[in-house]
C-alpha cells in the first residue's frame, strides 16, 4: 500500500492523541535524563527532608535494565508460544492443544510472585528468576492469539494455497503466518505491556529495574519514590504499547481479511 500523502501525516501529528503521546515521551525522556529538575514537584511528598528524587542509582540505567529484562522475557515467550501455537494447529499436533492450553493457562494463573519465590531457591537471586516469572506469565496472550489466528485463516485461502501446490511448510510461511501476524503481534504487545508492570516485582529478588525505586520508597516510607517509580513504569508501558501498535500497523498494512 502506498503511504498516506505528506499533508495527511502532518494532520496525524496534530491529533490530540498524538500530541499526548509526544508529550508522554518527552516527559519520560526528561525525567530519565534530568531527574533532579523534577525535585521541586516531588518535594512536598517527602518528610523530614528526605530526597525527593531517587538517589540510590541512576534512573536511566534502571529504566534500561527494566526494558531489557521485559524484552528478553517477551522474546522467549514469543518463541515458545508461537512455536507451540504452530505445532498444535498442524494436523499432527492437534491432540496436544488441550494439554498446551492447560500448561499455558497455569502459567498465567500462577502469581508471578509465587514463581519468583519458587525460582529463587533453584536459580538464586538476580535477573534470572524475574526472567523466568515474566516468561511464564507472558506465554498465554501470545499462545492464545497465535492459535486463534491460525485457526481462523480463511478456509478458501488455505484451500487455494494447497490446491496450487504449496507444501505444508510453504503454506505456513507464505500464507498462514502472514495472515496471522496482526493477531500474533497483538498478543506479543499485550504480553510485553503486562510484563512492564509485573517486572517491578523482580526488584524484590534483586533484579535491576524500576521496581527498585518503588521498593526503596516503601522501605523508607518515601511517597515521592513510590510515585516516581510507578509513574515511570506506567509511562513506559503506555509508550511501548503505542510504539508496538505503530509497528503492527506498518508490518500488517497489507493483511486484510474480508
Amino acid at each position: 500500500m502506498p503511504g498516506p500523502a505528506a499533508p495527511l501525516r502532518v494532520a496525524t501529528f496534530l491529533r490530540p492523541a498524538a500530541i499526548l503521546r509526544v508529550a508522554a515521551a518527552g516527559l519520560l525522556a526528561a525525567f530519565l535524563l534530568r531527574p533532579q529538575s523534577f525535585a521541586p514537584l516531588f518535594a512536598p511528598l517527602t518528610q523530614y527532608g528526605a530526597a525527593p528524587i531517587y538517589d540510590q542509582g541512576n534512573l536511566l540505567t534502571l529504566a534500561l535494565a527494566h526494558v531489557v529484562t521485559v524484552c528478553c522475557a517477551a522474546a522467549a515467550s514469543a518463541i515458545i508460544a508461537i512455536g507451540l501455537g504452530i505445532l498444535v494447529t498442524r494436523p499432527g499436533g492437534r491432540e496436544f492443544l488441550p494439554l498446551s492450553r492447560t500448561l499455558v493457562n497455569i502459567g498465567q494463573t500462577f502469581p508471578p510472585v509465587a514463581v519468583l519465590a519458587l525460582a529463587v531457591p533453584l536459580v538464586g537471586f538476580g535477573e534470572l528468576p524475574t526472567l523466568i516469572a515474566l516468561f511464564v506469565y507472558g506465554l498465554l496472550p501470545i499462545f492464545e492469539n497465535t492459535v486463534v489466528a491460525l485457526q481462523t485463516c480463511p478456509p478458501a485461502v488455505l484451500e487455494a494455497a494447497s490446491g496450487m501446490g504449496m507444501s505444508a511448510r510453504q503454506r505456513l510461511l507464505a500464507v498462514e503466518l502472514p495472515l496471522a501476524m496482526p493477531l500474533i503481534l497483538e498478543g506479543i504487545r499485550l504480553s510485553l505491556v503486562i510484563n512492564v508492570g509485573t517486572a517491578t516485582l523482580g526488584s524484590t529478588v534483586a533484579a535491576k529495574g524500576l521496581g527498585e525505586v518503588i521498593i526503596a520508597g516503601l522501605l523508607s516510607n518515601n511517597t515521592a519514590f513510590i510515585l516516581q517509580g510507578g509513574l515511570l513504569t506506567g509511562l513506559m508501558a503506555v509508550l511501548l504499547y503505542d510504539a508496538l501498535a505503530v509497528l503492527e500497523r506498518r508490518v500488517c498494512a497489507n493483511v486484510r481479511i474480508e
Partner: protein, 311 residues
C-alpha cells in the same frame, strides 16, 4: 486425457463417491453437475488429490497421479474455487505469480505471463497489477482467481463452482470469457456446478451425479433427448427441455439456403434466441449474418421446430 477408474471415497460409513469411472477428453470442457451432497466436489478434489481416494485411481495423460508427491502434481493442475481464495496480503500480480514462483520461473518470464493474463482477462496491468484483492469487485476477484489458476500454463484446469458467487449478468460474461479462454489455450477443463443451465452452456460433455454415482455422462443434447434415468430427466427439466435443446444449436449450424426479409441474427446466436426474436417481431424467418458481415442463409420457424425435439 483424464481417466477416472472406479474412484471411491468413503468417510467412515458414508460413501461420498461410489465407483465413478469416466474419461475426460483432451481440450474439452467437462461439467460435473449435481445437487449439493452428490459428491461432485469430492470427485473433483480427488483429481488433484486434495482428497485422497479410498480406492480407484486417476490417470492424467496415462500416468497415475499417485506417482509423484501431491503438491508437485497440483502445480501442474490449475485450480479455481467459488470464493476465489485470493491471498489477501498479496497484490493481484503476486497472486497470479504464485504457481510460476513455486515452479521456479525466472522473474522476466513470470512478469510477462502475469501481464499477458491480465490482458486476456481484461484487467489493465497498469491499473490492477498492484492492487490488493479487497480493492477489486467480485467479478474482478473471480477473474484474477481464474487467471491465477491458469498462470503456469496447466494442461488441466479444475473449477469448483467458479461462478457461484457472481450475479447473473457478470456470471454470463464470465462463462463467455471461460469459453474464449478454453479456445485460446486449449486447456482441458473439469468444472463442477449445481446449475444445469451452466452445465449445458459450458460443457462439451456433462456428467450428472447423484448420491456419489454418475447417473449419465454424455453430450448435453444426449442428456436432454435420451435421459438414462428419471432423475436426469428431472434435473435437466422436462417443462422447457425443447427450449434447452434449441439453446444448444447455433444459428450458423441451423442456417438453410435462401433469403429472408426478416431481421438479421448473428451466427453465434442460439436457436432459442432466434426463436424468441421471431416471436417478438411476429415474423416467420430471419437471415443469419456471420461475424464478418456475410450472409449465411436463413432460419425459419419451421426449421427451428425440427431442431427442438429428438431426431
Amino acid at each position: 486425457m483424464i481417466t477416472l477408474e472406479k474412484l471411491t471415497k468413503r468417510y467412515g460409513e458414508a460413501t461420498v463417491v461410489n465407483e465413478v469411472s469416466l474419461t475426460v477428453e483432451r481440450n474439452s470442457i467437462t461439467v460435473i453437475v449435481g445437487t449439493s451432497g452428490s459428491g461432485k466436489s469430492t470427485l473433483l478434489r480427488m483429481i488433484n488429490r486434495l482428497v485422497e481416494p479410498t480406492s480407484g485411481r486417476v490417470l492424467i495423460g496415462g500416468s497415475d497421479t499417485t506417482r509423484e508427491p501431491a503438491h508437485l502434481l497440483r502445480r501442474r493442475i490449475g485450480y479455481a474455487i467459488q470464493s476465489h481464495g485470493l491471498f489477501p496480503h498479496r497484490t493481484v500480480a503476486e497472486n497470479i505469480a504464485v504457481v510460476p514462483r513455486l515452479l521456479g520461473w525466472d522473474v522476466a518470464r513470470t512478469q510477462a505471463r502475469v501481464r499477458e493474463l491480465l490482458g486476456i482477462f481484461q484487467l489493465d496491468p497498469a491499473t490492477f497489477a498492484d492492487k490488493f484483492p479487497h480493492q477489486l469487485s467480485g467479478g474482478q476477484q473471480q477473474r484474477v482467481g481464474v487467471a491465477r489458476a491458469l498462470a503456469a500454463e496447466p494442461e488441466v484446469l479444475l473449477m469448483d463452482e467458479p461462478f457461484g458467487a457472481l450475479d447473473p449478468i457478470i456470471r454470463t460474461k464470465a462463462q463467455d470469457d471461460l469459453l474464449d479462454i478454453q479456445h485460446h489455450f486449449g486447456t482441458t477443463i473439469v468444472l463442477v456446478t449445481h446449475d444445469i443451465d451452466e452445465a449445458f452452456r459450458l460443457g462439451d460433455r456433462v456428467a450428472v451425479m447423484s448420491e456419489g454415482r454418475v447417473l449419465q455422462y454424455g453430450r448435453p443434447a444426449e442428456l436432454l433427448t435420451q435421459p438414462s434415468d428419471p432423475l436426469v430427466a428431472r434435473m435437466t427439466g422436462v417443462a422447457d427441455r425443447a427450449m434447452k435443446l434449441l439453446s444448444l444449436t447455433s444459428a450458423a449450424e441451423a442456417a438453410e439456403p435462401g433469403e429472408s426479409d426478416g431481421p438479421e441474427v448473428p451466427g453465434s446466436a442460439s436457436l432459442r434466441e432466434v426463436l424468441s426474436e421471431l416471436v417478438w417481431r411476429g415474423v416467420n424467418s430471419a437471415s443469419v449474418v456471420a461475424a464478418d458481415g456475410t450472409r449465411k442463409g436463413r432460419i425459419t420457424v419451421q426449421g427451428i421446430l425440427s431442431h427442438g425435439h429428438p431426431a
